[in-house]
Subunit: 559 residues, 2 copies
């Protein structure tokens, strides 16, 4: 039996019929050449069911102690695991477009997981057009976070289209195979000592913690203008309202290089560009509803506190509160305000160890979660929305020969925060999943168009253009223009994406020595020098992860 | 706003994630000749969505007063009704057999309805073999009971295969059309006076109530041996156990005349024969698990307290507790013990008015429901199982030309009562739906075989045989032998049924003057003389409903 952490337990305690606390999404695949859909999917299901010992969380169910849900909670092996229950075959009604897929995923994401069983489900979905199929899966957030779910995804699939994996992806064997492939050396004597010190430090009133709390206090009192803190000046909007249990889900991909180009052109990070893109879309969404607040929306931006090589922790995640500058019309000024806000948020973690950071985040997050049962979250939302960036595999992946075309995440909607935008970087693309409360945000599918419009607005303002990029840098020519499969309504569909083939691939692997840092991916100004490399003791610094070396800097175009 | 009755509210208060309190099932249809499945189903959905004013419960959502769920509850119109949410398109994975349909229905039946919306869902299911499609619907039991759901079914469909209904079946117009077709005269002055008297009587300590309570007390003290009361000698068994939220569902049809023949041959009713058939199946089920209790199982048998012509009340249902005599090996003796127990149960209602009966049933039922939240139901189940017989339309029905092939009900599993058997009489057949807790009753699908075996056992014991019946009475020759569509595995599928064409149809319509009586359908010994006819004041007597005149008495065959 393994005891759940306070944060993991909180996701269970705060769950209601209106706010299911599971994360998930769908993975899109193309069937291998000549494969029969029905046989292939049954083959995948049968293979998964061969597992005998299960990697977490597939085989573990919740055990509630004598004090009930408010007391300590544990994971224990489910001795009567019913895999037929967890692994399901589903189908789309005709014509099997993404519209039908989104409707099914919206529904599946709106129902609660059964707490009497391990907290996950997997649906093999047939009936898609174009020789594709989808796998929707959901996991309780108490059992898994976005990064862990990506590790699970990677451990299930292979980078080799010819590879056939014979052990069940749910099994311990799959986990061991994956861990071995990560090529991480066992912890050294020195590292172990560091971990011990970190553990000790969580019980210290260390100087670092004091520094962070001082900065945090400064934000409240106004002495630190860039740092946004929860609840401070969070405006009311239609996104911040009561929610019920039904969901709407849409998904779409954009080329990674395209968004990164915006970040570079404006001297910011990929993540800054993502936030600016979302900010513009939210601005349009609210403007079109005639209710853009004069105060800027604030977004929670989860950051990973996971140590490289740690593929097991369920929730190694903290949060920065970013000012989205939705009240700023000029896209360049908006971008820079967001960038400054993110930098201030990350600076706070700079001198903290990962465990200090985790403790700190528990301190500032939990009061927000506690508002939910008190019914106050809609009146005092700690943030306006959540925008979460989860790093996925940076190369094409295959499941027994079926090409993984995209990883579209569906996350959590909570009381007072009716929309969540989560994105996964996969291969050369960025896969967005937008989920919202079905009742409060009936037009959430328009966000896909608004995101595209916002990206174009940023490109125009920065004097770059994506179509131009390909011309300027022939080695980065799109592998395929928006595919023929994309129908007239293509823009709102995941496959409607230009896939650039950036020659030099960003390095996918995390450096083993850069421990537990909030990952600000592809930070252009770091010029490929991860600062943490030589430091023996892990400090929580924003990590310049895997700086891509591709010369895809697009030619400027003045308008 | 309409206030919910105590019983209706109880279904909401007692609901949990483990025990959803909705009823439903699937209707099976054959597409009209030459129809395109996708177009036809979208046509049905579009037609339903045209409604502007809704008949109950389609347009009403729950309103909780200031005292919360424990205070009074109300129905109020949902001003932002989202029909896209309630009416859904689904599809079966290939090969689209009944097996895949049962799996989907099991899943759909295991999720809770959204209390922020009107408490119903309807799923148009495509992808079935043999040019068929299915419509799964679910309604909260607080909003509807089995009889009302059959009225809804009938109001949606037509007896004329050529009829195309243009008003939405969800609309008030559909309800009015149906009500007019029922041809019930408006209540007379005398009837209104009777209703007033009945209302008054619910506040009296009337003699009838006293008589019933006296009988009830007699059963507890042993002075009335035939009358079974809740909790009295209910044995422990694997059916009476903790449940969780997941379900297993199976369905199958039998010819009405075949089951009725058993009842007649043994001088009992159709309903006695149904109970004996279920009893034998349960006996085999428990024997095969090596755990047949020495005490007999007791079944709750709901009886309708609905007045003919009352198509609106949500829960006009009471209950008799029947001794299933599962500890009796001899099928004839078992049959007679069941029959005696049912007669004693019904006699108790004989001299009560419908409102007295309702009040009485609330008195004896509610303590059982109250056990559930106290966690005592598994230790002291008030019954072993529930066997419910819902009268459906007695002629073939059509939905815009699509023939309704069967009405397969899925009911409620509660804490301590992990199996429910509900049957609907439709056209010339009886459609059984068996639902159980997925975890506690993993082999519930075997009940279909056991029911057939049990029916054969009763036929053998009574010296009759179904195959022989057709030969002996040529006018009752089966219209179609088990259809060609029925595959090798036919026995566990709803279509694997012999459809006899009984020339003289049982009268489908309820007599307007026979008010509010527990309906014991097709009671053979009543020789077509509904006793209530001449009585001015409605008494709660078992009604000899619509005695079939077909001479289908099968020739006896000694073995």
């Amino acid at each position: 039996m393994k005891r759940l952490s306070v944060i993991d337990s909180a996701f269970l305690m705060l769950e209601s019929r209106e706010t299911p606390m599971h994360v998930g999404g769908f993975n899109l695949f193309t069937l291998p050449e000549g494969a029969n859909e029905q046989e292939f999917l049954h083959g995948l299901a049968d293979n998964m069911r061969t597992a005998e010992s299960f990697q977490s969380p597939f085989g573990d169910k919740l055990k509630v102690g004598r004090m009930g849900m408010l007391g300590p909670l544990f994971w224990e092996p489910d001795t009567s695991l019913d895999l037929e229950y967890h692994i399901r075959h589903s189908a789309l009604p005709k014509p099997g477009r993404f519209r039908e897929l989104f409707a099914l995923v919206s529904r599946l994401h709106g129902t609660l997981l059964d707490r009497n069983r391990p907290l996950w489900e997997m649906h093999l979905i047939e009936g898609l057009e174009n020789n594709q199929f989808a796998v929707y899966s959901k996991f309780h957030h108490a059992a898994i976070d976005g990064v862990r779910s990506i590790h699970l995804t990677q451990s299930m699939y292979s980078a080799d289209p010819r590879e056939r994996i014979h052990d069940s992806p749910l099994s311990m064997a799959a986990r061991e195979r994956y861990r071995a492939a990560l090529d991480i050396p066992p912890p050294s004597e020195a590292q172990l000592r560091n971990v011990a010190e970190m553990l000790k430090s969580t019980f210290d009133s260390s100087g670092h913690m004091l520094g962070a709390l001082r900065q945090y206090a400064g934000a409240w009192t106004g002495s630190n203008e860039s740092l946004t803190v929860p609840w401070k000046k969070v405006p009311a909007s239609s996104i911040n309202t009561r929610v019920d249990g039904a969901r709407r889900f849409v998904a779409q991909s954009w080329p990674f290089a395209r968004i990164r180009a915006v970040g570079r052109a404006l001297d910011g990070t990929f993540n800054d560009a993502v936030l600016a893109m979302c900010s513009g879309a939210l601005r349009t969404f609210l403007l079109n509803h005639g209710e853009l607040p004069s105060e800027s929306l604030k977004s929670m931006v989860p950051v990973s506190l996971r140590r490289p090589g740690d593929i097991d922790s369920s929730n190694a995640v903290g949060a920065i509160s970013a000012d989205l500058a939705t009240n700023v019309k000029d896209p360049i000024r908006r971008f820079h305000k967001i960038k400054a806000s993110m930098a201030a948020g990350k600076a706070m973690f700079q001198d903290m160890s990962s465990s200090e950071a985790a403790l700190f985040l528990q301190l500032i997050q939990l009061p927000g979660l506690a508002l939910v049962p008190l019914g106050l979250a809609t009146r005092f939302p700690p943030y306006s929305t959540v925008i979460s960036n989860v790093p996925g595999p940076r190369q094409p992946m295959y499941w027994n020969g079926a090409r993984l075309e995209g990883i579209y995440p569906a996350s959590i909607v909570t009381e007072g925060i009716a929309m969540n935008i989560t994105l996964v970087t996969y291969d050369t693309q960025v896969d967005f999943g937008v989920i919202g409360c079905r009742r409060s945000l009936p037009q959430i599918q328009r966000m896909i168009d608004y995101l595209e419009d916002s990206l174009v607005e940023l490109e125009d303002a920065a004097g770059i253009s994506w179509a131009g990029a390909a011309k300027a840098a022939p080695e980065a020519k799109p592998k395929a223009k928006p595919k023929a499969k994309a129908k007239p309504k293509a823009k709102s569909k995941p496959k409607a994406k230009a896939k650039p083939k950036a020659k030099a691939k960003p390095k996918a692997k995390a450096k083993p020595k850069a421990k537990a840092k909030p990952k600000a991916k592809a930070k252009p100004k770091a010029k490929a020098k991860p600062k943490a490399k030589a430091k023996p003791k892990a400090k929580a610094k924003p990590k310049a992860k895997a700086k891509p070396k591709a010369k895809v800097r697009p030619k400027s175009r003045s308008k």
